[in-house]
Symmetry: C2
């Protein structure tokens, strides 16, 4: 039996849960013995059934670090005992245009680690080995776990879209944002951190931000016209989108990776003048996750975390719900 | 004196108006004797002061064809008698980053032909010669006039963003849309025309559309999931944006060139899933306008127009207000 924590209904506290570990696993599957699992805001959305896709009992957790326990007969690239990570995606169809191109994150028939599949708040997880990634040796496991979802979510658009020298604003210095500041800086961008919390200035600068803007002050924001090549918004609340779009230089892009609750209201004039755009990004391909882990190891990019034991999962979830985590909660198994 | 037609207050009919032709013009200016001027929806917005930028008397008109009458002492590339065109832009600062890069359409201190400057519903217009373009010899003037604004507005994003073989949907088959269908087809894309008017199907196909969708039927629209690489919206009314975004393939882009009256409502989930985007485009640089004219001449791309004499300007404007023009009204001077 695999011991884990599950939600049994929307918005409920998690409780202990067990499911049977299959004697036989699929030829491409891997069983991972979990040592750490980060808590992402989307775990909260899943527990609460905010996206109407949840099935209960629901075992959250998709920022997993652990060791390979056993692999299916066709797995060639993983060895028992090897330290690995698993993120949002636990499988994909393998046959569609996107899978065949190595862009499995765009597969319309993918499997999410914690949607209709038991996730990482557990002693073990069983996933398609194509979505299991070796972790570079020098990374601490608790600092590496959040890279698997928060990290790739911000690395992918920064890597694909920015050029060294670009002016990048990171909106929201939380789990995603504090990694985005580090990645954007290491990619050669000038980084401005936007946060509602003035107390985060010193840390944001230590992470690589050249400037810090207290985003509660609309007057300060209104002065920053035509300043940024990119604004990466990691928050899940509605902002004054017109005000932020005015901060973009011509051809600038507002990159959306935060699951904002209400539709973004975008006046046509705010994007036509200066031919700007609002574009989204979703996690990253397996190839890009491998690249990100390598880049993070080389550039000494790590999540700043608060670690609690798995049995304290409900306390940890509360800290995430209250936006108190600095900057990511990680459960230790 | 230069004879023209002007609005003297918002939402009023145009009346005859004259202004003095300066004896001395700027060293880089050109005086154009106008033969034709197209009517763009933005002329209506300017007459009505919809954008709060209008100054009266306001002489609309920014799809101008005519002949060079005289040029300033520093103009080297225009000759009196030469047939030329002028579009939305009549000048730019010449000194900013964007002007120096040849992207004058992004200059923050530009001059629009009909905003704070007397436009093309007139016998003559005086503009910066850098924004005066030779018209290829085989084009009829009335078919060329709409290229200067409607044409470049759709050509620029199609040329910069699409690849041959892409599936492109053109939403709205009017002044901009009927040119977009022709340009997208000539650029090697598979084109689907979306129109509220079933009667436009035959013409849309003749212009190059491979498919035609009657866009009043939401059931038909809902079936087209993950189909298009690009949707180019040329309309100025609010659409069901979520429905159209669902028609985009992963990495697809909704390109906005129509001055929609209300903010676009974009659910974050509708762009995060499939990492889609909403991007705008604004006219085109002088270099791209020259390229477009050459491309249109080579590919035999022309606006389909209804021509009325300049004195019937108010009747022509009414046809535009009522969306009756097939597909562009052009005034003949």
């Amino acid at each position: 039996m695999i011991e884990c924590y599950a939600a049994f209904a929307a918005k409920q506290k998690l409780k202990e849960f067990r499911y049977a570990e299959p004697r036989q696993i699929g030829p491409m599957d891997a069983v991972i013995g979990i040592s750490h699992c980060g808590i992402c805001h989307s775990d909260i959305h899943l527990i609460d059934n905010d996206w109407q896709t949840s099935r209960y009992p629901l075992v959250p957790g998709h920022e997993i670090i652990g060791k390979v326990e056993r692999v299916g007969v066709d797995v060639r690239d993983l060895t028992p005992g090897q330290r690995v990570g698993v993120g949002w995606q636990a499988g994909s169809c393998g046959n569609c245009e996107w899978c065949r191109r190595g862009e499995e994150n765009l597969c319309p028939d993918d499997t999410a680690t914690a949607v209709g599949h038991y996730g990482g708040f557990a002693r073990k997880v069983i996933v398609d080995s194509r979505f299991v990634f070796p972790i570079p040796p020098l990374m601490a496991s608790e600092s590496a776990a959040p890279l698997l979802c928060a990290g790739i979510t911000v690395y992918s658009p920064l890597r694909r879209l920015t050029k060294p020298g670009d002016k990048v604003g990171v909106i929201g210095i939380g789990g995603l944002g504090h990694l985005a500041v580090q990645f954007a800086r290491a990619l050669g961008c000038h980084v401005t951190a936007f946060s509602h919390t003035p107390g985060k200035e010193e840390e944001a600068r230590a992470l690589g931000a050249g400037d810090f803007i207290g985003s509660k002050d609309k007057n300060t924001l209104a002065k920053l016209k035509r300043h940024f090549d990119f604004l990466l918004t990691t928050v899940n609340v509605t902002l004054d989108w017109e005000l932020y779009l005015a901060m973009l230089r011509p051809n600038g892009r507002l990159i959306v990776v935060g699951a904002v609750d209400k539709p973004l209201e975008i006046p046509a004039g705010a994007i036509i003048s200066g031919q700007k755009g609002v574009i989204a990004s979703v996690i990253g391909s397996p190839g890009m996750i491998r690249e990100m882990l390598d880049f993070a190891a080389r550039e000494r990019i790590a999540a700043r975390t608060e670690v609690l034991p798995l049995k304290d999962v409900n306390a940890a979830l509360d800290r995430v719900r209250q936006n108190k985590a600095r900057y990511r909660m990680v459960l230790e198994v």
